[in-house]
């Protein structure tokens, strides 16, 4: 039965192409994390080859774990052990775990990660082709949630050379009220550093350029679903471009966003994992766009790292639905339009939210200083802060960054007496860690306003 000719592509060839596309990334990691530190005498000769050893441990461990699991649990299938291992491509979960984790991960933890990736990310579902979640990301999730402090203590995302030369946090973890090129990009050189990959990060995720050529190679050889990385990166670029535009940041800002945080690596290698991504064309586009949105939600609205990892694992759960939307039956056009409208709506609302987050960090527009009297080292402010029903006017005197008096002069909020009953003003005066002080339940807005007033006054007094 069936056609008596077959196209030349087969699964082994595709896996081979995937591995070939990773070779430049592996070699670059060897150069950046091994050769360069060695040339600057930061590591020994063994340390120079350590990146290669690290990656090799990843590959070998997942291969061995899968071999043992297959031996024990999958014998009943009646298949030749050799055939199963040859067709299961078991090196990939381990290889990707090694590339996504930072080099300072201790080997024992790497082995834990590849174990979780291979066994709980892939094998328990039935092996190749049956898993729902990206195996490598499952492994990394376990490692990063359990052992992130160990990794940070070991050097975090900085290699031996970068520890001495770069004096800032990793690009995306820079928390600042002022976002500018000087703060986000300059500590690492220029945008070209981001493009080629000479920035701190994990073993394989840093080079945008190498991920780009890998994507082109894999698309030409028809190995990956190219619509996913294109829609993913385009979505991130467009949204961050709009955010940047509204904050008068140049084109460097969206470029910075797409070239950091392992986005390119995640988009090209993790999101396109064939088993865990949609099979329909429109499903893939929707997947990429949703990934872009979710990654930015993680970056802008949460303090948690690993936005790319979280988004991909979350969306893996919805691949089934995305494929249902992508079925080309008579409702296809309707489904496309409805889902695009839904996604666009979410994207626009979030973009507006991201904007206000970016803006509010610096100037509080609800705060106004009416008068400021300086007498020796005591400053007396009369200021207003927007409360629940209009402005609250208060008189605060502050000395050496400590509040001496706090008097409410005018307030239209009905629940002010609730706040005062709780001795809230005393608490605000006494508590040095104002940010952590809870608001008064039942009068949240009013107590928040009173809190913000103090914070803003303190900020002003520091200037």
């Amino acid at each position: 039965m069936g056609p008596y000719i077959h196209s030349k592509n087969n699964t082994s060839k595709m896996m081979r192409n995937l591995f070939i596309s990773l070779i430049p990334i592996i070699l670059f990691s060897f150069y950046k994390n091994g050769i360069i530190p060695y040339m600057h005498n930061k590591v020994s000769l063994l340390g120079m080859f350590y990146p290669l050893l690290f990656i090799f441990v990843g590959i070998a461990s997942s291969f061995i774990y899968e071999l043992i699991y297959t031996r024990i649990f999958m014998k009943k299938r009646g298949l030749e052990l050799k055939e199963i291992t040859r067709n299961s491509f078991s090196i990939f979960p381990g290889l990707f775990v090694a590339l996504v984790l930072p080099l300072s991960t201790p080997i024992s933890i790497l082995l834990f990660g590849t174990f979780m990736a291979t066994i709980f990310g892939k094998m328990i579902y039935g092996g190749f082709g049956y898993n729902i979640f990206n195996p490598a990301l499952i492994g990394c999730l376990f490692v990063l949630t359990t052992y992130s402090n160990v990794i940070v203590n070991n050097g975090g995302y900085f290699n031996a050379y970068e520890l001495d030369t770069i004096s800032s946090a990793t690009p995306l973890s820079i928390v600042s009220n002022n976002i500018s090129y000087d703060i986000l990009v300059k500590p690492f050189g220029s945008l070209w550093n981001f493009f080629f990959g000479f920035i701190p990060g994990s073993v394989g995720e840093v080079s945008f350029f190498l991920c780009l050529i890998a994507c082109i190679y894999l698309t030409i050889t028809k190995t990956i679903k190219w619509k996913i990385p294109v829609s993913y990166i385009a979505t991130v670029f467009i949204i961050t471009f709009i955010v940047g535009l509204n904050n008068n940041l140049g084109i460097w800002y969206p470029l910075f966003q797409i070239m950091s945080g392992g986005l390119a690596f995640g988009a090209v290698f993790m999101a396109t994992d064939p088993v865990t991504s949609p099979t329909t064309s429109f499903g893939q586009v929707l997947y990429g766009i949703s990934l872009g949105i979710l990654t930015l939600v993680c970056r802008y609205l949460t303090p948690y790292p690993e936005g790319v990892l979280t988004s991909i694992l979350t969306l893996n759960m919805f691949v089934f639905i995305l494929d249902k939307i992508g079925i080309r039956n008579k409702n296809y056009i309707k489904k496309m339009i409805l889902s695009l409208i839904a996604v666009l709506f979410v994207a626009i609302s979030l973009t507006i939210n991201f904007n206000t987050k970016l803006n509010n960090t610096d100037i509080d527009h609800d705060f106004n200083i009416i008068s400021k009297d300086i007498d020796n080292d005591t400053i007396t402010y009369i200021a207003t802060q927007k409360g629940f029903k209009g402005n609250i006017k208060a008189k605060v005197s502050i000395k050496n960054n400590k509040i001496i008096t706090y008097e409410v002069l005018e307030c239209n909020d009905d629940y002010l007496n609730v706040v005062l009953r709780e001795d809230y003003l005393e608490k605000l005066i006494k508590n040095p860690k104002i940010d952590e002080l809870d608001t008064v339940s039942g009068a949240t807005r009013t107590s928040t306003a009173l809190k913000k007033l103090i914070i803003n006054i303190k900020k002003d007094s520091e200037k």
Binding site: P3, N9, G129, K225, S281
Partner: protein
Amino acid sequence: MTGTKIDNRSSLLLRKKIENIDVSTVYIPITSHQLEIGAKVKEGELIGTYHDLNVYASLSGEVISFDKKNTIRGEEEVVLIKKNKEDIIKVKVNDNIDKEDFVELLKKYSIVGLGGAGFPTYRKYDVPNIDTLIVNAVECEPYIMADYALVLEHAKEIVDAIYKIMKINNIKKGYIGIKKNNVNVINSLKKYIKDNHIEISLMPSLYPMGWERLLIKKITNTTYDKLPIEKGIVVNNISTIYAIGRLLEGYPLTERVITVSGQLNTPKSIKIKNGTLASDILKNLNIQDDDYIVIAGGPMMGREITSDFVLTSQVNCLLIMSKKNNTVLSCLRCGKCVGVCPVRLEPVLIKDSINNKETLEKLDVNRCIECGLCSYICPANIPLRDYVISAKEKVRGD
């Protein structure tokens, strides 16, 4: 609706002429007749019926026995006629034949589509208004060159036939759809086209470009619901057109050109009589099929046969291919089957829901034209077409 570039092997044949294969016996499928053993028949003589089609002897000789043989439609009753002379009963055709007589003629002499489907041609012409005639010379399956070989040797008769058909049926415009890289064939046709009532439409070398719906969309940019005649279009394979032309000259349809190819060193175009046994062809060409499988039809849509198989006019190719044992691996959900399907189905999702009739109905499995591209492209060698065919049975059946 698009086609895909697939591995196409056929240019070798074009330099060789069509050979005649001499067989001594033909095996003609028949369902009702009044023949007796020993009866003498002539080529072109009406000998019975096959369901509701008239059956004509394809050799002049003697009825020697009745048997059961495998044809493209399954196991059938056949009558064996052994050749003992060369003779033919010609058909009387009026010079100024009108449309009604034309349809009658096609019906009486059982002209069927020679592209492979075998649809009775008269039914396509038995309609009042035909605006466009599209001649399908695309022949999109790899290895098959029967139409091309025929055109190279009979271009004049074919173009004349097209003009005649258009005149009889009052058809305003004719197109010949042909792959753009078949330069020889295109030039041989162009020589005889006198005006722009017939236009050559160059088609890309994709599969399944010869599929009726895709061909019509590409040439005239129209779509239809069930039959092309809804938009006033009739599509005929170019070998069928040649057969109609021959019929108008008085010769009944008793033979056709087929390709014998595959993994042979010397592929050929041969002319065979209706009802030729496959093993006679292989013996005649000195082909031993020990380590090979024999396929009737093309490599994508053809069927494996035993050499104990009788070729009727629907079969346009015999392929000799080596046996392949491709292990089936797990589906890696790459989505290539979804990207390649010309009717925009999702074979991987059909495979997943093969036991769920409701989901299969939502997936609209009856659109499948069984072209085989999904099985062709699958990197894991999953027999996807078989899944889709089984899904179709499930949806239609219970």
